[in-house]
Symmetry: C4
């Protein structure tokens, strides 16, 4: 662990990485971060490593310009600016997941929003936001590799909990680490259900008030899922790479 990272927090964040891999939200790519609890201008994120292999010692503390506090920190993710700029724009956000979870991408590519098809996805009540990188950057490598592009992504996200990124993936935000992991898992589940429902007929979505009430109710139940996901990981192998 680098400067300014508590062991307990680094372990919790490493576990979040492992859960997201085990739940098939991330593969070799994707990342999850946490705003620093003591300094809202900092955030914690693994160095460049597959989420399924992240160990507590890989967690690095970054500033909002994407630089690491520890000048000796290992190679960072190219897209740490996703996290940096969302934390800057959204003081309510405490945790962020960026992934290429497979059922969400088709919605991003046909420019249709996710909508809450069941109560587990009440956090999608306003629908997902859409980000078209061409509007901000013209022809790019599709990656959020700069503060400039991160800022454009955060602007597209607005006040929502999920933004779809055309030709790329999605980003979800939450008010805690466990909540954002929950949201990443159920954004994917909702997308799969929505895809199947739309093929069968005209789905009835949760209305905004149902979505809000369901989201509030589910927030009290997140630990039940977290405990299961944690138990599935078995004995964690945090040995050096």
């Amino acid at each position: 662990m680098g400067l300014n990272v508590s062991p307990a927090l680094a372990t919790e964040l490493a576990i979040a990485n492992r859960i997201l891999y085990d739940q098939q939200i991330v593969d070799g790519l994707g990342h999850v971060s946490l705003r620093h609890p003591d300094d809202p201008a900092l955030f914690l994120l693994s160095c460049s490593r597959a989420p399924g292999l992240v160990r507590p010692e890989d967690i690095v503390c970054y500033r909002q310009d994407g630089s690491s506090l520890d000048p000796q920190a290992p190679r960072p993710y190219l897209e740490r600016f996703i996290h940096a700029e969302i934390y800057r724009a959204r003081p309510d956000v405490q945790a962020v997941v960026h992934s290429h979870s497979p059922s969400v991408i088709p919605f991003a590519c046909v420019q249709k929003p996710l909508r809450p098809i069941f109560h587990m996805a009440g956090f999608l009540g306003e629908g997902s936001a859409h980000f078209e990188i061409r509007e901000a950057g013209g022809d790019t490598d599709m990656l959020i590799g700069s503060s400039y592009l991160g800022e454009a992504l955060a602007r597209s996200l607005g006040s929502r909990s999920c933004v779809l990124m055309r030709g790329h993936g999605s980003t979800v935000v939450g008010t805690s680490l466990r909540q954002v992991v929950y949201r990443a898992v159920y954004a994917e589940a909702n997308a799969r259900l929505q895809m199947n429902a739309q093929a069968l007929g005209e789905p009835v979505y949760l209305n905004p008030r149902e979505a809000q009430l369901a989201s509030d109710a589910n927030d009290g139940q997140i630990d039940r899922s977290w405990n299961l996901w944690l138990q599935r990981l078995g004995a964690l192998d945090f040995s050096p790479a």
Copy 2:
């Protein structure tokens, strides 16, 4: 185990929970209950815990008003009223599964019934019932969190074996624990097949008499599947959480 719960029954119910998780009918949420064999006004259900983690000691005995016999019982599921009110309305029902099994939800959300596409799902002969929570409760958190909503759900179920819950999931009922687990597994299988068949053309469903005959025949074969599902679980870890 709380008051009025025999160890053998608590173990069988814990195993049913583990099977439903292993068969991917439930994830962190969902539950299975059993009417008390000695007192039809009581039923057995786990306390609030992910089904994949339920142990015999988690089984609690509830009254039909949703209160637990044991005043020291741990936190209950919010939706125990699903079970309570179905046991009240349906004396023939001995066991109930509530789940968010993924292929069933799209049918619930487009308001199309499950119909028996193969003999394993003969219990769907009458088609699934439909429950729209808005009709009973207006805008809610979508959960069956009261006797009032449980009673409305039981009314929608009527005399059928399966009710789809819009924006939420489904509930199946049976005359024994092993039968209801079988039905939950094959309601999901039938939904997946029905979805795929409808995309290919116009399916021929079992007619009511075929469905009834197939259901009767399958009831004599349930242990063959149960034994397989049990064996898949391996050595069960019922150690304290």
Copy 3:
């Protein structure tokens, strides 16, 4: 093992059962049989047990009327008549698999044949046959529970390698045990591909001559797959149930 069953053959047939379960062609139900190498009027099939649990000692020798040679044999499968009547009608057939493999059933229910979409399924060159149990038996429990229904199924199969059974599943036949396991695996694979291709556009199928040539070529490669499937099973647990 019962009368007239060699240990080596019983073990090979038990392994075929385990492979079909591991490859997700059968679940708790389904079965695979082998014509007796010394007496073409007999065939070998497990007693009533989930294929994933079958052990060599479960293999029973049956006559074509469905009776077992060993009067002490345990409970048989209700549908052993599928096997009996196909062996009677098709002297070229040495092995039979009956399953509810999930991608095939939708084709059976919309009455569309499987056609060979890739070389691995050249054995489907003539297309699959179709069996409608109502034509032979009116309203039934959908099961092939008698010589009469078995004979009707065998007639529908005709000279083909695969027959789809409406509201039920499918049956494939082959000239050896390994070949029929291969065909059961790739009938399912072909169905999944055909379903996806038909959703994308108008598939070009193998023509009859391509199918025959591919089938002949693949028959020389079956052991490559068999060896992999066998290795996946790991150390086999053939301990008493």
Copy 4:
């Protein structure tokens, strides 16, 4: 290992085989090869064995006419001419994967190209090429079993990175072993996403410049995925068959 094969290279190629099997790109069939680093007229490929079982000692060195350097080499793959003729036609190609990966085949059979739907598949920027074996060989067993057919396939591939083979599968090429494994994994992922997106609406694909930039950026990240895939394999069993 046969003549002219270094142990380190044979091990890397055996690992590539195991990864492709673990990632579900190949099953019992399919193969991956590497141009010989010291002699561009030679290439390394396993003898005829399921990729999931390949060991370093199975790697054989072949000439471009499909003959093995070692006259004692075990039975070769029938389709080694895929590799031989692509190496002959494309001096830039250092590694080749041929597979029947399941989401790609439907595109091959309806004659629609893969197009890059997300940045991970930037290497598909020009779209996939299409190969119709009937044009070169009339009615065949669908296999590339000769230099003549291999040459026709290489001609269809042209300068692209992926060629779909009607009624058969696909072949991808790359400038390194790790890159071609990455491309095989993400060609399959792209196909699945493209299939789902086309069912939802009209996808926006990466334009040629986005695809090129994304491909260049991803090439610097391949080891992150490779390390994960390698770790998933656990302790490798390279014991004799």
